[in-house]
Each structure stands twice: as structure tokens, then as C-alpha cells.
Amino acid sequence: MLIEGQVRIPSGCAVSSIFSRSGKRFSGEDIITSIEVMHDRSNGLGGGFAGYGIYPEYKEFYALHIFYDNVSAKHECEEFLEKFFDIVNLSKIPTKKVKSITDEPLIWRYFVTPLKTKLADSQLEENEYVVKQVFRVNTNIKGAYIFSSGKNMGIFKAVGFPEEVGRFYKLDEYKGYFWTAHGRYPTNTPGWWGGAHPFGLLDYSIVHNGEISSYDANRRFIEMYGYKCTLLTDTEVITYMVDYLVRRQKLSLEETAAVIAAPFWMTIENMPESERKKHEYLRNRFSSLLITGPFSILLGFEGGIMALNDRLKLRSMVVGEKDDNVYIASEECAIRVIAPVLDKLWAPKGGQPVIFTKDRI
């Protein structure tokens, strides 16, 4: 049977997130509680979390989370990493035995910084350099898979129900100002650890619910720019698209949303002149990055979150606000279970980006 990466697997899902605008750090317990309520939206074939602000002591270093199928893959990968990075710390990611989570790969964490000389030789920006090495590991080293590569953030994922995955990784022992979670409902078995969400590249992480019909159009376009879609999942391609638009094309998040969930032409025609021109420009220039089909995505990045629904709003997503905290989830119950009393609860429109960033202090 083909596993993820060899075959494209559609899946349904649940997403949830908690974001503290004041940057107050809190443990991963709440996010586990939140995603657990939506147990029925997952089928035990994938769950995961991203936490931001969890590695303050190593915040200058890229935190690489890596799955290894076996020890030889680990050796090969570490040899590779040593050639390109200064590894300041490495350890097994602490886990706890959970009955339903089995067949775990070797899960390691490295805090690294690019080797100065190698970076200079490459003539690349530091971010680009890291991205390039991540792709090299993921495409060239069999049995090794870097699933998290940002600074002061980390992704934790596995095959299992999300609440079990959270406990497996002992997320109650981490503290972050922003958490996202994902429960997966892939339409085949077995799910693969690497195929679980969130999907990350540098400090972008994406959890996503939906099955985008534009997948191959998006993939074949983005692969022109050095990205390699090894997992064949929507989330992976969306992550690369966001990286391309935000980091490489220097678009704002609003502009990025106007590309991937572009307003309809008839809506654009009725906009005031300057808006109309901007939207026409973005839609035309990045037409291959339009996403069609249902999706609700939560994009995490250093200091902020963007939530976005497809332009027809074919997937549910609600936003709750209470004091400094923002909650965004597939279902209201996932918010109410951790924040029963809210200042505000609302459902974003299709294609309307919802962006929250840390208050500047």
C-alpha cells in the first residue's frame, strides 16, 4: 500500500487555536482540551500541534524537529546537518507512552544555526539557506523528515487522535503564547506521522481543514520556485504558497489572502478604483496560486495568526475573543470548552482574512 508522499490522500479535519495578544505564555493543556471536544472530526489517523514562544532559551536558533525511520537515517542526516549547521543542542524529544500511539519513529530535536562560511558561500539569505537544506534532507535522505524548522516554535505531530498526541508529547510541560492544533480525518489508512498537521516551514505553520480542488495547479506552479511537495498534501502546498508570497514576494498577509482566496471578478469590478486595480493585479499575476475548493486554514507565524476560509466558505470556522485571548476553531464548542464566557464570537466570511498579531509592548 502506498503511503503519504507516494499518493495523494484527501482528508477532512478539525482545527483549533489559542493566541495571546499580550504574549502571555501558557501551557499546552488548554489546546488539548479544545481539540479533544472535536474528537469526532478526526479518525485517529493524525493529530498535531504547533506552539510559539516555547523555546525562549534558544530563540536565536532554528529548532529542527526530525522523524527518523531508523538509526542509519539518523546518522546520515546528522552528518548532513553538521556539514551545513552549527548544532548547539540536540536531544530526543521527550514523549510519554500512550497506549494508542504506536510505531513511533525516532523523534529528535536540534537547535542549529547556519555555518557562517557555508552561508556566505551560498550567497543566500539565511532563511533561504535553511529552507534549501530542509528540502535536501526531506527529498534526499530516505527515512529522515524535518517536520519543524522555525525559531522559538515547534511542531509536534503523530498518528493518533490529537488529544492523545498532545499527551504523548507532554505539551502540558511547554509554555507558549500561541498554540494551534489539528485533528485529521484522512480517507485511507494508514496515516503517516509526517503527513499529520501542522505543516511547517521556518516559523510558518499551517493547520488546515479541507480538500482543495486546485491542488495540482498550485503544486506545479510552486514547484517552479524550488519548493518540493514531498507529501502531496494540501497543507504542504499551502505552506509553500504562503512562504513564497509573504517571504519571497514580500506581500502582506491581506494581499496574500487576496491571492489565495481571491474575491470574485464581479466583486472586484465593483470595488473603488485603487482597490480594484490592486485586486486585478494580484489575481492576474498570481493566478496559479488561487485556491479553490473547501478550506479553513490557520496560519501561524512568529507573533501572529491568520485565519482564512475559502471564498465560498465551504468549511466552518468561528472566532472567539476574550480579553487578550483569541480563539479560532472549526466549531464553537472547541472554544466554549476552554473559554465559556466570551466578549465576542463571530464567523468570518469566505475569503475574509482574520489576522491577529501580538500587541507591541
Binding site: 482528508s11 486546485s214 517552479m224 481571491a262 499575476r285 488561487l290 479553490t292
Partner: protein, 500 residues
């Protein structure tokens, strides 16, 4: 003299239904039908019949049909009737065989070996009657870098584009190869549909300058009718390097057809043969092409996208890659089944490759080289229905060119006798009495109907796939599956087999 060739098609007249109205006689330019007063009977001379069905269509009592003759040579799987007939013709004429319209040989039609996907359960299909369904397409180079002004606003640095309401255009057919009324019909339909038609290499009749905003003006190797006002009249300029029906050879419009306005529009004396050389004699390599592209851009102040049209030949991917780097904004590829007003039969039947394979390999190659955004891809060469269009776009085309389909909509019955100049449907002729048979009021309406109908169908198929904008279909090869194809064919098309 011995008559070696018997008619392939025969006129069959139902004597019970024929009322001797003589409409068939009046409508046949080939003089197949004749009323014989003595016998008080309509007589048919099948040997003159080209099977264009004009008489069949106009017979008010449906008394006529054209049937394949059951007169046969001794059956031979090697020496087909066609092979023998061609030899008889050439043994008599000593000349090159001429044919018209697209390659009719039984080569594989890959469109018919691909199937389209639809949503079930995990992803909803979208009803185009209830939700917006977008088919608008821009053709042209896209900017690679984001530029902002001092206030941080995006600067629109998109090079000049063509905007199409639906991804279909009428491809090049020259005034001369088709009639004034056929051109008028295409121009009017293109304007109403918010798409484009293409002048072909015969220049632009002065009456049609008013349709300039929906016109692509062509610059071919003969440079007929090309001058400043012509270049400026169109919305885009197409350099014709090749044609699918006759890759590697030029064109020849005989002097008899260079009459009146055709001569004026082509800017050549009446009665002289209009010979388009096989190559452009100022383009012997890719760097020369680049010079012509930029000459045309300079001449039109960089306000018109430049299209380079090539025939699909064996090395098409590498050629397209070169063109993408030549400054061209759009590449048009014409497959070996594309039509023609006249071509040597052997060239038409034996040269070139199918557009499906050419498109797949060009799109893939441009992506591998990271330059797919430098150009738009337009493909033609026998697009027969909206299914073909959906498949072409999913393989990677931005839009399609149709010509044979458009002619059929106007009445053409593919009798493939354009080269005789006696088109009974008023399309491929310059004889005034025949030209007037094509009333642009009727023909433009039929063209608009066809493209509107296809657009509806494209929307239905897109909706079925859960796609509500055509750009999300472009290059979306996962939406296709092959049926009955070899591994090699699947690999070239970049698709999986049905069931995978």
C-alpha cells in the same frame, strides 16, 4: 481517356420525395445537380460531388442524401482505396497532391483517451447556476518581482495582457483563404464574446479595423498586408512561424484568388500568386526571432503582447523554451490535426505531432525551467468540444484556439475541398455569389451560440470538480486520468491511469 477514379460518394435522390424545386441545382457550385426537361427529372452527377451537403441541408423535402459509394476496388489491407486513388491522380497530373482542413488519418486522439474528475463526498461540487463560476483569463507575461511605491502600495508592473471572457479564441484564417463574410462573422462574434479572432496572414480588410480591440493581427513569412496601421490596429501581434497542418512549409494562395479587396488587403497586385516562404527569411534562428519580437514591440510602443505561433513538431518543448526566452508574451502551438485552406496532402498527413503531447511536454518543460510564468500557452489543432478544452487547460494551456470548430459552426461540413475555391457554404471562397451565402448576421450568432454553449459546459465540468475559477484548473493534471494509454504516453502527458 480512361477514367481511373470512380466517385467516392454518391448522391441518392428519393424520387418519391423530390418535387423538382431545383434548389439543389441552384445551390451546387460544382454542378452536380441538373434538371433534365425532356425527362422532367433531376439528374445527379456524383463524380462532381465533394460531399459538402449544401444540397442535402437545403432540400426542403429531405429527398437527398450523400452515401459512401459501395463501388470498391478489390479489398487490400495494404493498398487502400485512398492509396490507389492518390496514385491515379498523380499519374495523371504529375503534381503534388493537395488537401484541405485537418489531418483525417486515424492517428490516436489523446483527448478521447483522457477522462475528467469530479468531486464526491470529501469535497463538494459547485453548482454554476447558484454560485459564481469564473472563466476569465489573462494572457501574457507575469511580473516576477513585487514593486512598491514610496507609500508602500503595490505598483502594477504586469506587462500588457489580453483579457478573455472565456479561454477560447478564433485562430488564424486569412482573408483570402476564407471569405469577407466569414471574417466579418468571426470579428463580430469575437467582439460580442469579449474574446479575439485572428487575421491570419492576409492582412486586415479596412472594414474590420473597427474590431481592432478584438483582433490579433498576424505577421507571417510573406508579410502580406503588414504595415504600421495594421500592427497598431490589433490587440496583439502574432508571428506565425508554423502551422500544424503544414509544418515546415510556407503558403501559396493562387493568383486567381487575389482579386479585388483580397489584393488590396494583402497589398499585392491582382492576379499574382501570394507566396509565403517556408521560413521567415529574416529568422534563421532563435536570436533572429528575438529581434523580430522586439522590432514589433518597438513599432507598437510595447502596448501589444506578441504571440509566437509554432507547429507542434518533435522538438517542440525545446523550441518553446527558446521562444519563452525570446521576449514573446504568448506561445501558440498548433497540433498536427489543425486545419488549412490548402496544404500538400503528404505534409498534412505525415508531419507534426499531436497537440495533446506537445502541450503536455511544453508545459512541463517550461515549469522545469521555471519560466512558465514568462509566457502564456495557447493551443489549437482540433479542439472539438468543451471537453477537449477542459482537458487542454488541465494539461497546462491558458487558452485554446479554435478554427475548424468555428467554421463548422458557420456551416462548414468538412468536405475538405477549400483548395478548389468553390465553397458552397460561402466560407472558403472568393466568388461573390458564393460569398453572399454566408450572412454574418446568421453566422456570427451561431459562433456566439457555440462559444456560449461551450463556456456553459466548461463551467459545469469545473463545478463538478469543485473548481470555481478556470485558473485553478490550469495545469491541474490530477483532474485527468488516462484510459488505454501506455506508461510512456502517461508519462509524457503527466497523468495517471484511470483507477490509479
Amino acid at each position: 481517356m480512361i477514367n481511373y477514379i470512380n466517385p467516392q460518394y454518391e448522391v441518392e435522390r428519393d424520387a418519391d420525395r423530390c418535387i423538382k424545386c431545383r434548389v439543389c441545382e441552384r445551390q451546387c457550385a460544382n454542378l452536380v445537380h441538373l434538371y433534365n426537361e425532356e425527362a422532367d427529372k433531376m439528374i445527379s452527377y456524383s463524380e462532381k460531388c465533394v460531399c459538402c451537403h449544401r444540397c442535402v441541408s437545403l432540400c426542403p423535402t429531405r429527398a437527398l442524401k450523400i452515401v459512401k459509394s459501395n463501388n470498391t476496388f478489390k479489398e487490400n489491407a495494404n493498398w487502400s482505396d485512398q492509396a490507389m486513388r492518390e496514385i491515379y491522380i498523380q499519374a495523371e497530373s504529375g503534381g503534388v497532391l493537395l488537401s484541405s482542413m485537418g489531418n483525417p488519418q486515424p492517428f490516436p486522439v489523446y483527448w478521447d483517451k483522457m477522462l475528467i474528475n469530479a468531486s464526491q463526498v470529501t469535497n463538494p461540487s459547485i453548482d454554476p447556476l447558484r454560485e459564481p463560476m469564473e472563466t476569465k483569463v489573462y494572457l501574457g507575461k507575469k511580473a516576477e518581482e513585487t514593486v512598491r511605491d514610496e507609500n508602500g502600495n503595490l505598483v502594477c508592473n504586469t506587462p500588457v495582457q489580453l483579457e478573455l471572457s472565456t479561454p477560447i479564441m478564433f485562430s488564424a484564417m486569412s482573408y483570402g483563404s476564407i471569405s469577407y463574410n466569414a471574417h466579418a462573422s468571426l470579428a463580430r462574434a469575437a467582439k460580442e464574446l469579449k474574446i479575439y479572432y485572428n487575421t491570419g496572414e492576409g492582412g486586415l480588410h479596412e472594414d474590420f479595423y473597427e474590431f481592432g480591440a478584438n483582433t490579433i493581427v498576424q505577421v507571417a513569412s510573406g508579410r502580406f498586408g503588414v504595415y504600421k496601421d495594421y500592427l497598431e490596429a490589433g490587440a496583439a501581434i502574432e508571428i506565425k512561424m508554423g502551422q500544424g497542418a503544414k509544418p515546415g512549409i510556407g503558403g501559396h494562395l493562387p493568383g486567381e484568388k487575389i482579386v479585388g479587396d483580397v489584393s488590396k488587403t494583402r497589398m499585392i497586385p491582382k492576379g499574382t500568386d501570394a507566396i509565403s516562404p517556408a521560413p521567415h527569411h529574416d529568422i534563421y534562428s532563435i536570436e533572429d526571432l528575438r529581434q523580430l519580437v522586439y522590432s514589433l514591440k518597438e513599432a507598437t510602443a510595447y502596448k501589444k503582447p506578441v504571440i509566437v505561433k509554432i507547429a507542434a513538431v518533435h522538438n517542440v518543448a525545446a523550441i518553446a523554451s527558446g521562444i519563452a526566452r525570446s521576449g514573446a508574451d504568448i506561445i501558440a502551438i498548433d497540433g498536427f490535426r489543425g486545419g488549412t485552406g490548402a496544404a500538400p496532402t503528404r505534409i498534412r498527413n505525415e508531419v507534426g505531432i499531436p497537440i495533446e503531447l506537445a502541450l503536455a511536454s511544453v508545459d512541463q518543460r517550461l515549469r522545469e525551467e521555471g519560466i512558465r510564468n514568462e509566457v502564456s500557452l495557447v493551443v489549437g489543432g482540433s479542439i472539438r468540444n468543451s471537453g477537449d478544452i477542459v482537458k487542454a487547460i488541465a494539461l497546462g494551456a491558458d487558452a485554446v484556439y479554435i478554427a475548424s470548430g468555428a467554421l463548422i459552426a458557420m456551416g462548414c461540413h468538412l468536405c475538405r475541398s477549400c483548395h478548389t475555391g468553390k465553397c458552397n457554404w460561402g466560407i472558403a471562397t472568393q466568388i461573390p455569389e458564393l460569398v453572399k451565402r454566408l450572412n454574418p448576421d446568421v453566422a456570427s450568432r451561431r459562433l456566439v451560440n457555440l462559444i456560449s454553449a461551450w463556456t456553459h459546459e466548461i463551467k459545469e465540468m469545473m463545478g463538478g470538480m469543485g473548481i470555481n475559477s478556470i485558473e485553478a484548473l490550469r495545469g491541474n493534471r490530477l483532474m485527468l486520468r488516462g484510459i488505454g494509454l501506455t506508461d510512456k504516453e502517461l508519462k509524457i502527458l503527466g497523468i495517471k491511469h484511470a483507477g490509479e
